[in-house]
């Protein structure tokens, strides 16, 4: 039996004067003990709703969920004593210092004053938050807040951790720092449900990935499995002159496993390849032999967009388009 189990979750919202929103439409997932599941999907796919059901924040219309064999819907209080939640929706109090936030959380877990204070001090050291320890959170950067927030989720050193888009909106340096922290936790055996919009993040942190869209699971597997489903890497070249595009397309089609994409201006060409480095070398050699001038050439790792495009035939931005049309 998996440690975290969600079965057939359905959650609908009925906004006034708008069509019914099916935030979760029969979603099921499993997370084996000690593993990390990456819940991947675009905005509005149902990632946060799933995390909220599992962290006892919202009740689904139907379906069931259990953590460690404990029913999330029937015994929310027992669940709350064993989980830590961090991310977009579980914030810290801006007017309290980092220490006060962590101390308060400890006391609300009923650890008592002494143990709460000791744990807060420990987490401040562990997360390199000394600077934030004695000043109100208000004045700190996004990266620092996320670290305090994450520390807040770890006050009881919980066996289960929910991380909802832990690095969304962070600069690359803060993101790398936070990834290191999360990797450390994962190595200690914490079971993690991670929601993210970034394939790279799921690739880096998760053992298994579940791709969701419109409240349903549309693909699952390891990062490698998903990427091979997408077709590995892409080779992208930019031509100096669009006149060369036919010759360049022929060159790319020799290595490509899919049809070559040509941009509207006819100067950017791309195709999916099985073995990136070998294919790139061959393409560059052929381009040189034909005497075609290039601005740029390189390999692109598949993104969430590529996974999406392959599975659903549309890009992740469809939600925005729909909203704009409405």
């Amino acid at each position: 039996m998996a440690f975290i189990e969600a079965t057939d979750l359905i959650k609908t919202y009925h906004p006034k004067g708008a069509p019914v929103v099916r935030a979760l439409d029969g979603l099921s997932l499993e997370v084996p003990r000690g593993t990390v599941l990456g819940l991947l999907g675009p905005n509005g796919a149902g990632k946060t709703t799933t995390a909220k059901v599992l962290t006892t924040l919202i009740t689904p219309d139907s379906g069931s969920a259990a953590i460690g064999g404990i029913d999330v819907l029937r015994e929310p209080d027992r669940i709350r004593r064993m989980i830590g939640a961090s991310g977009q929706y579980a914030a810290v109090d801006e007017n309290l210092t980092g220490f006060e936030n962590l101390d308060m959380i400890g006391r609300l877990y009923h650890l008592g004053a002494k143990r709460s204070r000791a744990r807060a001090t420990e987490l401040i050291d562990l997360f390199d938050l000394t600077e934030a320890g004695n000043r109100p959170v208000k004045g700190f950067s996004g990266g620092m807040r996320r670290r305090i927030d994450l520390a807040g989720a770890l006050v009881i050193d919980p066996p289960v951790l929910f991380l909802d888009e832990p690095t969304t909106g962070l600069d690359p340096r803060s993101r790398l720092g936070l990834w290191d922290v999360i990797t450390g936790l994962v190595n200690e055996g914490t079971t993690v449900l991670l929601t993210t919009q970034y394939l790279e993040e799921a690739d880096r942190l998760a053992d298994d990935i579940v791709v969701i869209d419109e409240g349903r699971v549309i693909a699952r597997g390891t990062a490698d499995e998903l990427k091979s489903q997408v077709g590995g890497q892409r080779i992208v070249i930019s031509l100096v002159s669009a006149d060369d595009r036919e010759r360049a397309t022929r060159i790319l089609s020799r290595v490509g496993t899919t049809a070559t994409d040509v941009s509207a201006d006819g100067r950017t060409l791309s195709t999916t390849v099985a073995d990136g480095p070998a294919a790139l070398q061959q393409v560059l050699a052929d381009i040189r032999a034909e005497g075609i001038a290039l601005h740029d050439a390189g390999m692109q790792r598949p993104t969430l967009d590529d996974v999406f495009l392959t599975i659903t035939g549309r890009t992740t931005s469809h939600d925005d388009a729909k909203e704009a049309a409405a």
């Binding site: 440690f3 003990r33 909220k52 962290t55 006892t56 924040l57 919202i58 009740t59 460690g68 064999g69 404990i70 209080d77 027992r78 709350r80 004593r81 064993m82 989980i83 939640a85 977009q88 929706y89 579980a90 914030a91 810290v92 109090d93 801006e94 007017n95 309290l96 006060e100 308060m104 959380i105 006391r107 609300l108 877990y109 009923h110 650890l111 143990r115 744990r119 109100p136 807040g152 006050v155 009881i156 050193d157 919980p158 066996p159």
Partner: protein
């Protein structure tokens, strides 16, 4: 099954294991911890402190110095007359913090954080309404001191005066629960602030708080006589001994029995809105 849950249902370090069940002890603990959070906020956000202390001083001075010369209250001085009105207005407005603060906490996701913790579901609301109670008590100290300086005097006994303060604070406390419920329902701190201003300002002015309601045009007079704020103000006025000689409070039942009316109002508000607010809290989440 049993072994699974006992092995996994707790933190891995025995030192960090949360208490197994919620008891009266954890309820008091949770209420105190969330109250302390709000007290720290009052200390850290000076505008609340400035507003709660300066605004009552301003009102006492404005009304007693600007209007006192022009408004004649037979059998009393205007300063003595309006103090109960200013007390009532101040504490009613002081209760609106619970509305905007709950909406703000919801928006920022702090409510979500609290709701993932094994704390008592009433604790956040208890802490919030206690915060308002503290702000109102603080305003009271400032208002009483300012009032005494400009010539306000308690004409009843000390005990009755204490009862007057207690009644006003009690009413405001009950009203805080109403505002907390509204804050969670409306979800926008700005809307809560603007709407409570638009509703409460006329409510406190079309009453007997600042002028005797007998002089008002008939529709307004009838409104004032049934306005709960009038009952609150009159109850306070009676307990402080500031009712002018020969004052005609009004014929409505609330104004014939103001203290009883306020006490009934407090009980009704608490009985209705405490459970409503707690039930609401158990299901809300940012979105």
């Amino acid at each position: 099954m049993t072994t699974t849950t006992s092995a996994t249902g707790t933190a891995r370090s025995p030192d960090l294991r949360p208490a197994p069940a919620n008891t009266i002890g954890t309820w008091f603990n949770d209420g105190w911890i969330t109250t302390r959070r709000n007290l720290i906020k009052i200390k850290r956000v000076p505008d609340i402190l400035v507003f709660t202390t300066l605004q009552p001083i301003m009102f006492v001075l404005l009304f007693s110095q600007v209007y006192a010369g022009s408004i004649d209250i037979p059998g009393s001085s205007y300063t003595e007359f309006i103090m109960a009105g200013i007390f009532a207005q101040t504490v009613v407005f002081g209760s609106t913090y619970s509305g905007s603060a709950m909406a703000q906490d919801l928006k920022e996701g702090i409510i979500d954080r609290f709701r993932t913790l094994p704390m008592s579901p009433s604790a956040v609301l208890i802490g919030r309404t206690n915060g308002d109670l503290f702000i109102n008590a603080l305003s009271f100290v400032v208002m009483i001191a300012t009032g005494l300086v400009v010539g306000w005097r308690v004409r009843s006994s000390l005990l009755e005066a204490i009862a007057g303060v207690a009644l006003l604070l009690l009413f405001a406390y009950a009203f805080s629960w109403v505002m907390a419920f509204l804050g969670m329902s409306v979800r926008s701190p700005e809307v809560i602030n603007n709407v409570s201003f638009l509703v409460l300002f006329p409510l406190t002015f079309i009453s007997n708080a600042f002028v005797p309601s007998e002089n008002l045009p008939t529709p307004l007079r009838i409104f004032a006589e049934w306005n709960p704020v009038s009952a609150l103000v009159l109850a306070a006025r009676q307990l402080f001994g500031n009712v002018p000689d020969g004052y005609d409070a009004g014929d409505s039942w609330p104004l014939q029995n103001p203290v009883l009316t306020v006490l009934i109002g407090v009980v009704v508000l608490l009985v209705v809105f405490v459970p409503l607010a707690i039930r609401k809290f158990r299901t809300i989440s940012s979105r």
